[in-house]
């Protein structure tokens, strides 16, 4: 009986999780980099490259990201949930976005790719998950102490639409002109066909908007409120990726070694995702959720995404991002600096309002 109620009230989240997991496998099958059907941090990094904010890493204007933002925007309008608002500590959010992106690129994946990696047998991502959970638990302690980045206020529709519109225009430019860069080799050159990537992004954005899916929120709500809907979606992604890999005959190689675009440094996989988890809790959502909220007219999330773009650009411009060989010297320093910053933000905003 209880189970029935759980399914009835969380079916949309579970469906959304299954679709995202399946989408990741399909996109990977159709050309996206290994175990990277969907990675918000990596794809923002690729976009930063295409816009030449960084010139040493992958460069490609990923249609998936545009799809998520625009899909969420259309769905928000359809459901009368589009609301232009902002003003909740935007500068703090920008820098949290910077460090969340840096953390994710030291680990080599946002929370979403972390699950996709686990579902593809990459055990290094399990270490990342442990760090992510610890980061969330630390963030929850501050939430319970009254942490808040202060309230947001209503803004004009122009302000709310600025981010989704700008992303859409940049995407059109990327398809219609040769203005932006694209890698000729490496992960930036590996991509599913544009229409497929765009449509999948639109579907995921729309579903994620309706279901409020969030990777960080799942663990947070389970711990804080014994509410298990979001974490069920987390599980659904994992199940869909596992099933998809088996169906496609990709096989599952559960090991730490030779995983696509991953390194096996335990400590820095752990610490970098701890930084991501903690930062996401302070921001109120994972990178995917920030994209969706930005599509709904939330300027605070838009500035967070811009922060993540900047963080991704810095990660490659200053050699902070890891490679398959492992984390870099500067990447480690940046993660420590990030932990100091999130700790400072956590302590100083304990009594947020």
């Amino acid at each position: 009986m209880k189970k029935d109620n759980f399914l009835r009230s969380n079916w949309l989240l579970i469906l959304c999780g299954l679709v995202i997991g399946a989408a990741a496998v399909v996109l990977g099958y159709h050309g996206n980099p290994g175990n990277m059907g969907f990675c918000v941090a990596c794809f923002l990094r690729d976009i930063a490259g295409s816009l030449r904010l960084q010139t040493t890493g992958p460069q490609y204007f990923r249609p998936e990201i545009v799809g998520i933002v625009v899909g969420a925007c259309i769905m928000a309008f359809a459901g009368k949930e589009f609301k232009a608002k902002g003003g909740s500590s935007p500068v703090t959010r920008f820098f949290l976005g910077v460090f969340v992106a840096i953390g994710a690129l030291v680990f080599l994946g946002c929370p979403l790719r972390m699950i996709i990696r686990i579902g593809s047998g990459d055990l290094n991502a399990v270490i990342g998950l442990v760090g992510f959970i610890v980061g969330i638990l630390v963030g929850v302690v501050f939430l319970k102490k009254g942490f808040s980045l202060k309230r947001a206020y209503k803004q004009s529709v122009t302000e709310g639409l600025a981010f989704p519109a700008a992303f859409l225009v940049l995407f059109i430019l990327s398809v219609a002109t040769g203005l932006f860069s694209q890698s000729e080799s490496g992960p930036g050159s590996m991509a599913a066909a544009i229409p497929l990537a765009l449509v999948v992004g639109l579907i995921v954005g729309a579903l994620a908007q309706r279901s409020r899916l969030c990777m960080a929120g799942g663990i947070r709500d389970a711990v804080m409120f014994k509410s298990f809907g979001l974490i069920a979606a987390f599980g659904a992604i994992l199940v869909a990726v596992l099933a998809g890999n088996l169906l496609l005959g990709n096989g599952l190689h559960f090991s730490f070694d030779n995983q696509p675009i991953a390194h096996k440094d335990f400590l820095w996989n752990f610490l970098s995702m701890l930084l991501v988890g903690w930062g996401c809790i302070l921001l109120g959502g994972c990178p995917l959720r920030q994209l969706v909220l930005a599509g709904e007219g939330n300027g605070d999330s838009a500035i967070t995404v811009i922060g993540m773009l900047a963080g991704a650009a810095l990660s490659h411009g200053f050699n902070l991002a890891s490679s398959v060989k492992g984390p870099t010297h500067y990447g480690k320093i940046a993660v420590i600096a990030g932990l100091v910053v999130v700790a400072f933000v956590s302590f100083t905003n304990r009594k947020g309002d």
Binding site: K85, S88, L143, K144, R151, G217, F225, S227, G284, G352
Partner: protein, 70 residues
């Protein structure tokens, strides 16, 4: 009355939780400005033994009246 408008998730729920734990009030009005917050506060309050009546206000805001059951 608890004004949770403009606060990011899950802070409206946390504030509601704290208000209920501190004073265990017979009734509590909570203002929120988005649907996820409305859904989350309602879900939490129902489990905490309150019934919730929702009034839609202008600009997509909601007033939730929490009343202790029994």
């Amino acid at each position: 009355m608890l004004d949770a408008r403009g606060l990011a998730c899950p802070i409206p729920v946390i504030r509601t939780q704290q208000a209920i734990q501190e004073a265990s009030p017979e009734s509590l009005e909570v203002l929120v400005d988005n649907r996820p917050a409305k859904e989350n506060v309602t879900r939490f309050a129902t489990r905490a033994g309150y019934s919730v009546s929702v009034t839609a206000l202008e600009d997509g805001e909601f007033a939730l009246l929490l009343t202790k059951n029994g």
